[in-house]
Assembly symmetry: C2
Homo-oligomer: 236 residues x 2
DNA sequence: CGAATAGTGTCTATAAGACATTATACT
DNA sequence: AGTATAATGTCTTATAGACACTATTCG
């Protein structure tokens, strides 16, 4: 840090959110349709500008989260993805966006809130196979967010953040399958999960959809880092 | 910039660098001694403010890198750590810093450059055991940088970025041992590394320190992601 | 030769993958 | 009974860890 007396460059700080959840066993991301230029009418990640110079960045992310999505905020995972902002990112001027990854269990009423009319859940298919391009560099941010979620499933208990509590081990397995886009062997998955002490804790019992044997219920345990990790099937 | 209804919050964008390298088989980080307030005389990560509103952030990071460290820029790894900036981070006003992790092999002359007098390599011991506190939130940034390097050693070929080419497998092993702070079995390490196709490629042969059998030389291969990963010994 | 470092081989414990089997609900 | 889902068990294979052994240089 050196300079002291020159006027600061005019740079706007934005916050963008990659909000992931599971809907009917599929990974979904919350998008909004832009009502103003630029990229009017196109889909984009929810977000907005920092209100004041002394607003905390995480607070701004939480504010946007409340405005856009009606999620279970009590069990919310929120982490920063990073800063995005090439000089030509926004035609209105220099904008640097701090992107956040948010993960929460689905709620009965998925989309409602101040700006709800503009918000919609869309399948978070791999950006490559995505038909429409997102505004700004949001395709890149979304891809980074999904990749972050995928890698963190291996070594952290992030998967439980997708599940309303209490959940069954089948629920948890569906999280891994949906986020990774693979099928896992049920028996091996059970053995793995229950072999990591503190990952999940027993809760009670219930039957789910009037079909088959009732499943045991669990809640997230105190362990946040997984040893040994739940390894993703090797692709190459 | 067009005329806006509200003037943008006065926010300064800074770039800070966690520059890691290996010196005499120990992980070191480049620090500078601050010559101005605040935190005058205290150690800090090298960095500076964005020059202009249209300067690319990565360019600013590279500029600081050139100013502070005389490293092998041809084999440089540079990745973003994230944005840091609580409202009270800097007493001079609102500053949001984009932190980068830089990794490069050591050069014969380690520190020299424009602001070289202020720069010094210090052992990157775990921040907990560190005796002096860094300025601002740089202890946190440094800890995040080291942790990022540690996890990326497992699944990427990042370790080769620490080694001047060509390198021996012992050199590479020392990288893992220094960054992870563990001892690895040589035989198992050889088996592992050579079992990942494209991780390292043969180069020639040489003897290193007039002692013992000469070691084969390698250079970094095309593979950047490691399958299967080089797993860190389980701690808990 | 001995010391020192490089590299290979081998045995064992552990974890993963495939897959069969049992368990418990429902209609 | 028949079906559907949950949970456990078993066998095989791959991999990690420990460690002994051989190889090649130097003095």
């Amino acid at each position: 840090m050196s300079g002291e007396t020159w006027s600061p460059p005019a740079i706007l700080i934005a916050v963008d959110l990659v909000i992931l959840t599971l809907r009917s066993s599929e990974l979904h991301v919350l998008l909004v349709e832009r009502g103003t230029e630029p990229y009017r009418g196109q889909h984009a990640l929810p977000g907005g500008f920092l209100n004041t110079a002394d607003e905390d960045i995480v607070d701004a992310a939480l504010r946007e989260l409340r405005e856009e999505a009606n999620l279970d905020l009590s069990r919310l995972h929120l982490e920063q993805l990073g800063a995005y902002g090439g000089p030509d990112r926004d035609p209105r001027g220099r904008v640097i966006s701090i992107a956040y990854l948010a993960i929460a269990p689905e709620l009965p009423e998925p989309v409602a809130g101040t700006d709800a009319a503009r918000a919609l859940w869309t399948p978070a298919a791999d950006p490559l196979s995505r038909t429409t391009r997102l505004a700004f560099d949001h395709d890149q941010i979304l891809a980074d967010g999904i990749e972050r979620a995928r890698t963190k499933l291996e070594r952290t208990s992030l998967a439980t953040a997708f599940c309303p509590e209490p959940f069954t081990l089948s629920d948890l397995q569906q999280v891994y399958e949906a986020v990774w886009g693979v099928r896992l062997d049920q028996g091996n998955f059970y053995r793995k999960v229950r072999g990591v002490p503190g990952f999940v804790l027993p809760a009670g019992e219930v039957r789910r959809p009037t079909k088959g044997r009732p499943a045991r219920l669990y809640k997230a345990g105190p362990r946040t880092t997984l040893h040994p990790p739940v390894v993703r099937p090797t692709l190459p």
